[in-house]
């Protein structure tokens, strides 16, 4: 393993919603770069299984933990319990998210609540819980998952877009508040990334997004994971409160 590969050696990272998609790719990326990873998901046995897979693949220390971010009051105790055996938390990636789509006129209160409870209340709960643990060491780095939809909006996804715009605001507020503790908070705003989240999109829609992206393709979970790894690493040591687009130029 090269010196570069071990840039996160000795650090403990918590990734939410890491059972698949971008979260799993982030867990993989951090593990490969030396971090001990707490791979969390709302289904504890699935998280444990994915953690075992990842540990086998990478040789890193990876543990599964149950964490449903939409249960606000249960988040802090769950984060504490998952982190306690390690005695420290250096990295949080608040990735868990849902995307429910309906045109205006068909948006239900239940869909809005699920979306906001998971994508923004869940992020706030996780940031608060992790922040409290990081304050003790006066250091840490967090990355929150925003979206291009939070900046540009997205037809048929009013609640999702609102939740992701809120993530950008939460990122800047948390960065202001936690900076004095040596904790950096940033976000990534992926474009269209080929995961289960967009599995419901018709093939033509995916093709349209590819064509509209200057890089000429959809993003991969690994594209996002590498950006996250940069933001949590020391090379980003003076970057705080930023929302980094990972969209192949789709916003242009």
């Amino acid at each position: 393993m090269s010196a570069r590969m071990a840039e996160l050696d000795g650090r403990v990272a918590l990734v939410t919603g890491a059972t698949r998609g971008i979260g799993y790719a982030v867990a993989h990326e951090l593990a490969v770069h030396g971090a001990t990873v707490i791979l969390s998901g709302r289904d504890g046995s699935r998280a444990a299984e994915r953690a075992r897979d990842l540990a086998e693949q990478t040789g890193a220390q990876v543990e599964g933990a149950v964490l449903d971010v939409s249960a606000f009051d249960a988040v802090a105790p769950a984060v504490s319990a998952a982190v306690r055996p390690h005695g420290r938390l250096d990295i949080l990636v608040a990735n868990a998210g849902v995307m429910l789509s309906s045109p205006l006129g068909a948006v239900t209160g239940a869909d809005v609540r699920t979306t906001l409870d998971t994508n923004i209340a869940g992020v706030i709960a996780t940031v608060q819980a992790a922040g409290r643990l990081m304050m003790r060491r006066k250091s840490g780095a967090m990355v929150l998952l925003g979206s291009i939809a939070g900046r540009d909006g997205s037809a048929g996804q009013i609640a999702y877009s609102a939740s992701k715009a809120a993530v950008a605001g939460a990122t800047r507020s948390a960065a202001r508040e936690l900076g004095r503790w040596g904790i950096r908070v940033n976000a990534v705003a992926p474009g269209v990334i080929d995961t289960d989240l967009i599995a419901g999109l018709p093939a033509e829609a995916k093709e349209r997004y590819s064509t509209a992206t200057p890089m000429g393709r959809l993003g991969t979970a690994a594209d996002v994971a590498k950006a996250v790894r940069f933001l949590v690493g020391d090379d980003a040591g003076f970057i705080a409160g930023q929302v980094l687009g990972v969209d192949g130029g789709l916003v242009l």
Binding site: S80, R132, M135, R136
Partner: protein
């Protein structure tokens, strides 16, 4: 009493209280150093000193020295 003594030290250090300021008489938001930022510094210092976790509701309850003692006892801190 040992808990109270240790907590006095935590108050003085975390809130950078000047000599002669009695931690037992100041109140949250009634002392220039005990603002919302000072409050978090105090809470984190209490957690480290007594190796406990203070939840969001308890955090709000701590508005004076005696309240801090009570919360510490509630969360199982020992002198």
């Amino acid at each position: 009493m040992v808990l109270e003594e240790r907590l006095r030290g935590v108050f003085v250090q975390a809130l950078e209280l000047e000599d002669g300021v009695d931690p037992g008489v100041i109140r949250y938001r009634n002392h220039p150093r005990w603002d919302s930022l000072g409050h978090m510094t105090l809470i984190v210092a209490m957690e480290s000193e007594f190796d406990v976790e203070i939840g969001p509701e308890q955090l709000i309850e701590i508005d004076c020295f005696d309240a801090a003692v009570k919360v510490l006892r509630d969360v199982g801190a020992h002198g």
